[in-house]
């Protein structure tokens, strides 16, 4: 191969330089804004198994006798669970109102919800209601709080009965 001239070498340097410049440029810019200006983020995330549709019950002696010897567990628990209803309102405006079906083919798993919402920053009245047994509305968990959300702030809403129910963090 003939030795490249100065113009050819310059062309080569420019080509690699342009590639390098493109790499650096698209590696950093343009920046993105995760949230609109002046907004905060509300994350509603719930994974909770609703109440059992039927309570566990002890089998009668006749029922036990009818079963194979290795299948004679004294108690039977129907697997189905109630859907869970979740309602989230901000300053009286309903943002989320969903009835979550239990997961799984037998509808015996957790009901799950995940929503990411951009809301205006500032002071708000947040109301969250979780009902895990649709047959008994009086059993609903409810929590209201006045919050001040800073721009870029993130508020997570979860439901953890072991920690008292609705958790805001």
């Amino acid at each position: 191969m003939p030795r490249p001239g100065a113009a050819a070498i310059l062309r080569g340097v420019l080509a690699w330089g342009a590639f390098g410049a493109l790499i650096v440029m698209l590696s950093h810019a343009p920046s993105i804004a995760p949230l609109p200006e002046g907004a905060a983020m509300l994350q509603v995330s719930i994974a909770h198994a609703g109440a059992r549709l039927a309570p566990c019950r002890r089998l009668s002696a006749a029922e036990l006798a009818a079963r194979a010897p290795n299948m004679r567990a004294p108690e039977i628990c129907p697997r189905g669970r109630s859907p869970v209803r979740v309602t989230v309102a901000l300053d009286g405006r309903v943002l989320v109102d969903e009835i979550l079906a239990p997961s799984g083919l037998a509808r015996d798993g957790t009901s799950t919800l995940y929503r990411r919402l951009a809301v205006p920053a500032g002071a708000h009245r947040l109301t969250v209601r979780v009902l895990d047994d649709l047959r008994r509305p009086e059993r609903a968990f409810e929590r209201s709080a006045t919050l001040k959300l800073a721009p870029g702030g993130v508020l997570s809403v979860d439901f953890k009965p072991a920690r008292g129910g609705i958790v805001l963090s």
Partner: protein, 525 residues
Amino acid sequence: MAAGNAIDRAFVAAERGLDAPFGAHANPLRNLGTLAFFLFWVLAATGIYLFVYFDTSVEGAYASIEALTTKQWWLGGVVRSVHRYAADAFVAATLLHLAREWAAGRYRRFRAFSWISGVPLLWLMYASGIVGYWLVWDARAQISALATAEWFDATGLTAEPMARNFLGAESVGDRLFSLFVFLHIGLPLALLAGMWIHVQRIGQPRTVAPRALVAAALAMLLVVALLHPASSQPPWDPLRLPATIELDWFVLFMHPLMAATSPAALWLLVGGATLLLVALPSLSPGSKPVPAVVDLANCNGCARCTVDCPYQAVLLIPAPNVRSGRQVEIMPERCAACGLCAGACPSSTPFRSTGLLAAGIDMPDADVQQQRLRLEAALARIAPAAAGRIIVFACAEAANAATLEDARTAVLDMRCIGMLPPSFIEYALRAGADGALLVACREGECVYRLGAELTAQRLAGERQPILRKSVPRERLRMAALAAGEEADLVAARDALRGALEALGPAPRPRPKRDAAAAGRARSHA
């Protein structure tokens, strides 16, 4: 296809423009796949160094990378930056490689395996890159991990939303980081395995970049690493998001795309693109070439055709009943019908004295017998001329050699110049030509990858079958010219003619075949 043609022309122009400084051998645009291989090794080497200092914990990850970047900027910081920019360059080279192969139509039939096996590599490439950004555990990782989780959650296949794993400090544990590290090592290893599979149907694949290309790529990476060191965004904070985040658009472009549309739209786009890429060879199959055939009676199992086949279409299989213990077999679906195997076959010679020539491996529509007849007819056309008679062996894909035809120039075209057994050149010089001009594709543009390169090696005596030393090299020229460079081809022919006129007529020992025929004629008389 008009768009493909336009892009192809643009690539060709750019490739030729960069031939001058780098030569076709080290031209980055002619070595995009090789460049991607090299960048992968850069990523592996720099990644190992970074892993030595990386703290695999929620609390320590960000701090360990920051410490490496600031306290050891002269090495750790540079290595980090090179790792980052090599990843971007890897994506760019891979996407350019994909676009180049598509525009050139190099995805059909015998190339379909390489094309289709390349599609999963795109997924692995992006998965490796995206997970790599999570290891930094800054605000960019926060956005990326959450967006990726939301994307997978949209499939409805997970029992619980994966996004819940990234919502709060208590959701993120050190075990999650172990998973990240496992993924950032496991996915590139899977990518490497896929890259190995990707080149399995390529004969003599170029996976090692030439030194000049390595030097240029490393220099570029070091310069950009020093001029614009990679840096982290603010640390991950589940309670706060920064107003803006620097995004690596090479690797993370899918996140803003999903934000602008929806997870379902992104699945549709990515899934549709994947299916389209996989289906492309079937949607546009192109014409079916007539594959080479093996004549076991003339095959001695030397395996030259196996080695020279550019698409691994010729296999060497055990044959206990054959003296050599092995024989060749054609895989018709892989055969490009380029004829490089016929050019490599030692039995493919016009000097054999059998009545009907046959080679161990040959092209059924252009076999050695037909080639010799065509050569003899061509030689007969220029026989009346007194001197400067030239036989042109021309690749049909290169510059149009038909324009060279005149009273002293005869053209024998063939699918690829690699199809020409060197013995045909010697035969032509003995049987009436004063010189031979071989026309090949422009360097780096051989349609069948290896034709020009293997021919040059055969002529130089570096590769079997060689052109015998007794053949006068001063009567032989090789021109590597593309379509559109016919004027240069005429100039090459005229230059050879001038040299031949100075040399005088070629010495003409009678071909053995003629001598044998004459002997037979005498005995009959």
